[in-house]
């Protein structure tokens, strides 16, 4: 399951939708809007996506995670629009029988998302706004 959403991400609902009694481990990653970046106070953060391609790439990323790691399932939600510090920008949930594969898959998913999924953030400071190019 992968979605782009404009409302707050409900991480708990995403995690509950993944529940299965065969799972022994669930790993959740939440990206959160920080109130500081590049030495400045961040007042808001805007996420923009090339939506049709981002959905395609998120789907491919989930397929690759399922193929490469011994996991049962993976779900990703990325938020778009204007966010405040403390809000969740992306949530990734992986459920598996054993924990090592779940950790590996979540890490693969967020690292790959930051490299290849066409989504961009614009940081708003007290004195202006900047599109961020390139991830970390």
């Amino acid at each position: 399951m992968h979605r782009l959403v404009r409302e707050a991400i409900d991480v708990q609902a995403l995690r509950k939708a993944m529940a299965d009694p065969a799972d022994g481990a669930v790993v959740v990653f939440e990206g959160v809007v920080r109130d500081h970046a590049r030495g400045k106070t961040v007042t808001r953060l805007e996420y923009h996506a090339y939506e049709s391609m981002a959905l395609k790439k998120l789907g491919e990323l989930c397929d690759e995670a399922r193929a490469r790691f011994a996991i049962r399932d993976i779900a990703i939600e990325h938020r778009l629009g204007m966010l405040r510090p403390g809000e969740c920008s992306v949530a990734i949930v992986v459920a598996s029988a054993h924990r090592a594969a779940a950790f590996d898959a979540v890490r693969f998913a967020i690292d790959t998302l930051k490299q290849i999924v066409p989504i961009w953030k614009r940081e708003f400071y007290e004195d202006g706004a900047v599109w961020i190019e390139g991830g970390n």
Binding site: H48, Y50, H78, S89, K114, I116, P118, G134, G135
Partner: protein
């Protein structure tokens, strides 16, 4: 007989265009479309070395061929997550 052209994030700000079209017959590849907009928007030059290209929602190269009905997108390095 047209190709849809998309600019995202900072590139949309520079061109003032998020989405437009060009005549399909006039452009053989992605690079020729970029050159056309570079002529109108010289600030794009600063992004030339870092930008990413997509044709029909798949990453592409400057030399990737384009044809009628294609969707060509110019993308800054991504920063989601």
């Amino acid at each position: 007989m047209s190709i849809r052209v998309l600019f995202h994030a900072s590139l949309a700000e520079i061109t003032g265009l998020a989405e437009t079209e060009v005549e399909a017959g006039e452009f053989a590849d992605v690079a020729s479309i970029f050159a056309r907009f570079l002529a109108d928007h010289p600030r794009l030059a600063a992004h030339r070395d870092s930008l990413l290209y997509a044709v029909n929602r798949e990453f592409a190269q400057p030399q990737t061929r384009v044809e009628d009905g294609d969707e060509v997108a110019f993308l800054p390095p991504v920063s989601g997550g």
